[in-house]
Symmetry: C3
C-alpha cells in the first residue's frame, strides 16, 4: 500500500514532466471536461473521430481512451478502429463502458469493443461493470443508483473474464487486476452532482497508463488522485458549480505529499 | 398564485427525493450545461441520439426534452422517434424550438416535430414562439433581441393552436395552457450572457413534468426556480463566468421557502 | 501602436453596442466556451452545421468562424459551404486550422478550405501556422509544444502566401497582414491549461472582423483583449478551474482604458 502511495506521487510527477498525449473518443457531454482534466493534471488531450486521421493520431499518442457515451454507429466504428490501431502500436487502451446495460444496442456495442480490442483498463460504475459480468444492470440512465452487492467478488470475476485491470468507481473505488484489490474511500458527494466525473476519471486513468506498464497501479493512482482532489474540492465548494472549478484547481496543484497524507486506502486479497 | 408557490416547493422536494431520469436530445453547445442543471436540481440526465437505443431509454425515462439547436437530419429523425416513443409510453415531452424562424430548414424541422409528436410543454424565447404563431421572427441567430409586442395574447394563441402548455422565457417569463397566464419577473441580466440558459430552463421544465400531470404548474415552477436562482446568482456574480458557478450552486441549495419569499409572480386572465 | 490601442477600445465598445452575430462551425470540445466568450464580449453566437440552413444563417451573420477541430467529412463540407456563402455575402471569414500537420487527412482538409474559401484571418498556434508554410510541424495533438524559430519571418511568408491577415498565438502573439507585425506579450501560463483558449481567440477575432474592415487591426485588437484578460484572470486564479470563470468575468468588464494601460505591445517591420 505504501508502495502504491509512493508510486502514485511519482507517476503524477512523471505526467507533469513528460506531458503525455492522450487520445480520447468520448461523448459530447463530457468532451470539454475530459480535455480540461488532462490539461489540469499536466497531460495533453487530443480528440478525433474520423477514421481517416485516427491512425496518424494514435501513432503519436501515449494512451487511448474510448468512452461509449452518446454513441453512434459511426463513433463505434471509429472507437474500434482506434483501439485496434492502439493495440498494433502497443499504446494502452482504457474503456469507459458508459451506459452498459441501459439499452440493448449500447450493451451490444460495448461487448463488440471488448471482443475486438485488447483493453488495458476498464473503468465504470458498479452497474456498468456488473452488466459486463452478466448480472442484471441496476443503472438508471447513465447514473448509477444501484447498491453494490459484492464489489470485491465482481471485480475479480470481471478482471479475470476480460484479462484486464478493472476499476469500479463510486462512493468507494475498487481496482484490481484479478489478484489483490485496492479499495479507496476518498471522494465527496458533490462528485455525483457534476456530469462526467466518471468520464474524467477514465481519462485520468489513460494519462497514468501512459507512464507505467503496471496498469493496476496506474488505475489506482488515478483513482487516488481523483478521489483526494474531489474530497478537497468538495470541502471548499458551496455546490456543484463551485465544485467544478475547485476540482480542476485542486488537481492542478495536488502534491505527492497530499496523496500520502489524504489517502484512504486499503488492500483486500 | 399562493397555490403555485406551495406546489413549486413541493415539486422541487419531490424531484430531489424521486430523482427522475430525464432524457435529452439537445445541441452540442448546451449538452454539458443541461446535464449539470439536472444533477444540480436532483434529477438524473441521460442523452442518447441513436434510434437503435432510444426506445429502451425512453421506456426508462420520466420525461423527454427535445432541443432543436445544432440540428442535423439524423438528429431530427432521432427526436421525432423519441417523441413518438414517449407518446406511446405516456412520458411527457418538452420541446425547445431553438432557432425557430432563423432558417427555413430549421423552421420546417420544428413544424414537423410539432405535427408528429404530442408535446406537453413548448419552451422558447419570444421570437421563437412568435414564429410558431406565424408572426415574423425577430430572432438574430439563436439569441432573442426583439421586443415582445403582446406576449399575453401570443401565448394564449399558441397554447390553444397546439393544445399544449407554453412557456415564453426572457426578461419576463409567461406560462399558460390557454386559460390563465402566470407572469414571472425574477431573473438577472447575466442570464443572457451565458449560453444555453434557455436550454437549461427547458431541461428543468422536463424534470418538473415528471413529477406532476399539471404541466402549466410544472412549467411555471421550473421558471420560478430558474428565475429566482438566476437572480440570486446574479447578485453574487462578478460576470458571466462566476455567474455560471453560482447558478448551479444556487439551484442545488434553493429551498421551498426561498421560492415563496423571492417569487415575483402575478396571474393574468 | 497608440493608434491600435485606441482602435482596440473603440472596436470593443462597438461590439458591445452593435452586438454582431458570429456564426461558428467549431469542434465539440470548445463549442460551449466559444459561445460563452462571444456573449461575454457582447457579441451573439450562432452555431449550425447543416448545409440546408447555413445559407440563411450566413446571410444574417456579421462574421463566420471555421474551426477544424473534431473534423468529419460532413463538417468539412459544411465549413466550405459556409465559407463560400460568406464570400458571396462579403461576410469576413476567420479560419482556425486546429491540428494542421497532426494528420494527413486533417492537413489536406485545411488546405482544401484555404483553396476554396477566401479567408480574412487565419489564427493558429506556431506549429499549425508553420505547417501551412510547408515547415515540419512541431505539434503534439492539438496543443503546441514546439518552440518558435522565427515567427516574424514565418508570419510574413504565410500572410503573403495566402493574401490574408495571420495571427500566431502563444506565449507571444504575432499579427501581420504582410507588412508590419504587431507583437503582443500579454497572457498567462494558465491559458495553456484550459482547453479551447485558441478556439476562443479565433472566435473573438471573428467578432472584431465584424466591426472593421482592417482585419489586421481586428485580429490584433482581439489578441490584445484576450491576452490582457487572460493575464488579469491568471493573476486572480488559483488554478485552471477558477481561471476559466475569471476569464469570462474579465472579458465582460474590461474597459478601453484597461487595454491602453495593460498592453504589452510592439510593432516590428
Amino acid at each position: 500500500m505504501e508502495e502504491l502511495l509512493d508510486r502514485a506521487g511519482e507517476l503524477l510527477e512523471k505526467i507533469r514532466k513528460e506531458r503525455p498525449l492522450v487520445h480520447n473518443i468520448t461523448n459530447i457531454v463530457a468532451a470539454n471536461s475530459c480535455a480540461n482534466i488532462l490539461l489540469s493534471v499536466g497531460a495533453l488531450p487530443v480528440m478525433t473521430y474520423d477514421k481517416r486521421e485516427i491512425g496518424d493520431i494514435v501513432a503519436k499518442s501515449q494512451a487511448v481512451v474510448l468512452n461509449s457515451g452518446t454513441l453512434t454507429p459511426r463513433k463505434l466504428d471509429a472507437m474500434i478502429y482506434a483501439g485496434k490501431a492502439a493495440n498494433r502500436e502497443s499504446v494502452p487502451v482504457v474503456l469507459d463502458p458508459v451506459g452498459a446495460g441501459s439499452s440493448t444496442a449500447r450493451s451490444k456495442a460495448i461487448q463488440r469493443m471488448l471482443r475486438q480490442v485488447d483493453i488495458s483498463v476498464i473503468r465504470g460504475n458498479f452497474s456498468e461493470i456488473s452488466f459486463l459480468g452478466g448480472g442484471s444492470s441496476l443503472i438508471r440512465g447513465v447514473e448509477a443508483v444501484g447498491k453494490p452487492l459484492d464489489p470485491l467478488e465482481l471485480i475479480k470475476d470481471i478482471s479475470i473474464k476480460f484479462s484486464t485491470t478493472v476499476c469500479i468507481s463510486g462512493e468507494t473505488d475498487y481496482i484490481s487486476c484479478g489478484k489483490n484489490t485496492y479499495v479507496i474511500s476518498n471522494g465527496h458527494p458533490l462528485m455525483a452532482r457534476v456530469t462526467g466525473t466518471g468520464c474524467m476519471l477514465s481519462t485520468l486513468v489513460g494519462a497514468f497508463t501512459s507512464v507505467t506498464y503496471d496498469y493496476d497501479i496506474a488505475a489506482a493512482a488515478a483513482a487516488l488522485l481523483f478521489g483526494i482532489s474531489g474530497q478537497l474540492a468538495g470541502e471548499k465548494a458551496r455546490g456543484p458549480g463551485s465544485f467544478q472549478a475547485e476540482l480542476f484547481d485542486t488537481i492542478y496543484s495536488l502534491t505527492p505529499r497530499d496523496i500520502v497524507e489524504k489517502a484512504r486506502l486499503r488492500k483486500e486479497s
